[in-house]
Symmetry: C2
Subunit: 426 residues, 2 copies
């Protein structure tokens, strides 16, 4: 864990800060040719290509008929998992659903001088949810990606997950996914985007995945909609020293244990506190099962920044635009107006990220790697689309015909002009 | 103009319909290497690369200092254009602004058993608007792309447009753009995405452009946000024969005159009416200044589909998911509930697309090429982003700690588990 003093410096030019901000840059070009090839084959050969790549990459032999997980298996998984986990997932499901219901979008109409103008809101018909498989298969990913679609009113939710474990299958059962296919990688994304004999074509694909999945989603953006471009995740903690260093250390580690590229950062005004957090973190890490991952993340990116006051802390936080921001100060609400860029803002000592990851209700799919400057948490708004509705009466038309003709002439679009003029002449 | 009979057929397998649906597929791979090269050079060399490519592609010699159009030039353009155009653009600006104000997004909070959860809504700080230049430079593009950003509260709106004409500059003046750069192509997109010595880095890039612009936007998606993946545009008219064939013909032509790839389609139950529209269109087209473009579009894609009833007409329309849908029937509102996929829905004989393109108020930047299945018209919602806000009291924490621990254990994330457990033990 590095300690970096930004007091009395032109902090925007701090090398460490710029290094952190750029860690999300990925060499896509390296992986692109193989992903393009996979997409092309799936588009042309459908299920045959998907089962081919599933054997090649996942080592699993499937036939088109065995790609889909039978509904009974979801139910079995639900019955099989520990009772406390089942109950916890059900509490989480319920809380996530209630929170997301507040995100519903409304149609509107305005009537004005002979025109009636509005927007209609329609849920997407069919969406695909990608859930990473194997060891890092997380039931919380299922809930967080499926529930907003459900609340939006999406009719059919298709989940794909390579080698899904019992927890993800149980979560699929709880959240009412329509179908589950045990496939993954770029081949699963391509299958969802184009549709195959066995897999229905979807309108949008959401959910996290490895570099192949990320590139496939980006390449297929336009054929389908996608959620966001996800990079390595991060936590940033603003601390005034009022919260126990060991609590802060575990919060930092709960990000670092995810992935070697994850970032764990703190900003504080208190130098002694900074050193205590660093010590606690280095001590606690030694006992953690995932310490190899956490250590790499902390060594490469882990940083505590020293600043002179809380306003500068917010400035630096806005520069980093973290996925998760914890404000561990005595009066965290007072800083809220100064925080412009963060995926999720956790306020106060008991609002630890883990609660938000699992159970509080707001979505844990958040913009990473600085993209909180322009991306939002996944939400119901991601699963609807709008259409404009325009009605013009004869009176409204007469009022607006002339200025429309003027602009059409200026743009040199004669047919546009004529489509108005002909209605005036008749 | 082709007439295609879908009555008593398995219409989804109709070849013409599938050909139309696929016309948006672009061979990106062909252009990608050159666009990548441009992006790379702009990222490394900044303004030097931009002026280099501007001379190479646009034949315009610029220095970093002359890339920006001085504010006086905008004002001069405003004073220079014809009075009726100026007044029309001002009416349009005002109507677009008023409509978009209804799209403002609201923050919300919910309080529940010791937790306070919500979302905050923040406008993007700085956005770039791309406006095509030269002959096809449209002032309406400026208004439609700038006003939603303005209503959202974006602080700085940077417009780029190669060889902008007086109308686009006047529209920039009317809509209150912050700065205008007379550059275009992939080099302008890259300049906005990364920032250069003279061009500030933006958070999002919107606006239409040629294939280089489209590919640059897609490649840089993630570095910045982008509006949508735009393909060739189209109009689809559902007609019951109650509207004058010549009116319909001009509406179809006003799409066809845009671009050789544009699509002009009609669906009707009335075979005689179909033939009259076809005749009118072919007759009218001969007098049009842009007839070469319109003819190519009509020959390649122009189609009138015959169906047995209005419900099937809506089904076919939903399959095509057109950018513009005109419902020219006696009672157009009665079909609205059956229309699921369309960018903008124009209802009734006086609601011609040209009015919507320029002056009614709803946005004319619409999803094209079938992407209305999942994309929305450009709106205020494109220029804001959200952050989740999560506060948990000690009581709330005590209630939710156990289920959080259960899920953390199931996911094998020990630091997540510990971050909760440590707060219970202290």
């Amino acid at each position: 864990m590095k300690v970096e003093d930004l007091r009395n410096t032109a902090w925007r030019f701090n090398e460490r800060l710029r290094y952190i901000a750029k860690r999300g840059e990925v060499l896509e070009e390296e992986y692109e040719p193989i992903v393009r090839e996979i997409i092309k084959r799936v588009k042309e050969e459908g299920d045959k290509a998907i089962t081919y790549y599933t054997e090649k990459f996942d080592g699993v032999k499937l036939t088109p008929d065995t790609m889909e997980v039978p509904y009974e298996e979801l139910e079995n998984a639900y019955n099989e998992i520990e009772e406390d986990v089942r109950s916890a997932l059900e509490i989480a499901y319920e809380r996530i659903r209630r929170f997301h219901e507040l995100q519903r979008e409304k149609a509107f109409f305005m009537e004005e001088s002979g025109t009636l103008l509005g927007m209609k809101v329609v849920p997407l018909e069919r969406v695909g949810v990608y859930v990473p498989g194997g060891k890092a298969a997380y039931p919380s990913t299922v809930l967080m990606n499926v529930v907003p679609a459900l609340v939006a009113g999406v009719e059919e939710i298709i989940m794909v997950s390579p080698k899904p474990n019992k927890y993800t299958l149980a979560a699929a059962f709880i959240s009412g996914v329509s179908r589950v296919y045990q496939i993954g990688g770029a081949q699963a994304i391509a299958g969802l985007a184009y549709g195959t004999e066995m897999i229905p074509k979807v309108d949008k694909i959401v959910g996290p995945g490895n570099i192949y999945v990320a590139i496939a989603k980006k390449l297929l953006f336009g054929v389908v909609d996608i959620d966001m471009i996800a990079g390595p995740s991060e936590i940033l903690i603003i601390s005034d020293g009022s919260c126990e260093p060991s609590w802060i250390a575990t919060d930092l580690l709960s990000q670092a244990e995810h992935d070697e590229m994850a970032g764990a950062f703190m900003i504080t005004t208190d130098e002694k506190h900074a050193l205590r957090v660093k010590e606690e973190l280095e001590r606690l890490m030694e006992d953690f099962p995932r310490k190899e991952i956490a250590k790499k993340s902390i060594e490469r990116f882990g940083t505590i920044f020293l600043v002179e006051d809380m306003f500068k802390a917010c400035e630096v936080a806005n520069y980093i635009a973290p996925e998760h921001l914890e404000v561990l100060t005595e009066d965290p609400f007072s800083l809220l107006p100064y925080i412009k860029h963060a995926g999720a803002i956790f306020l106060g000592r008991y609002s630890t990220e883990a609660l938000g990851d699992y159970i509080l209700g707001p979505n844990h799919t958040l913009p990473t790697g600085g993209t909180a400057r322009f991306f939002s948490p996944l939400g119901v708004y991601d699963f609807i689309k709008r259409s404009s509705v325009l009605f013009v009466s004869k009176e409204g038309f007469e009022r607006l015909a002339e200025p429309t003709e003027s602009i059409a002439k200026a743009e040199g679009l004669f047919a546009h002009f004529t489509s108005v003029r002909i209605r005036r002449e008749t």
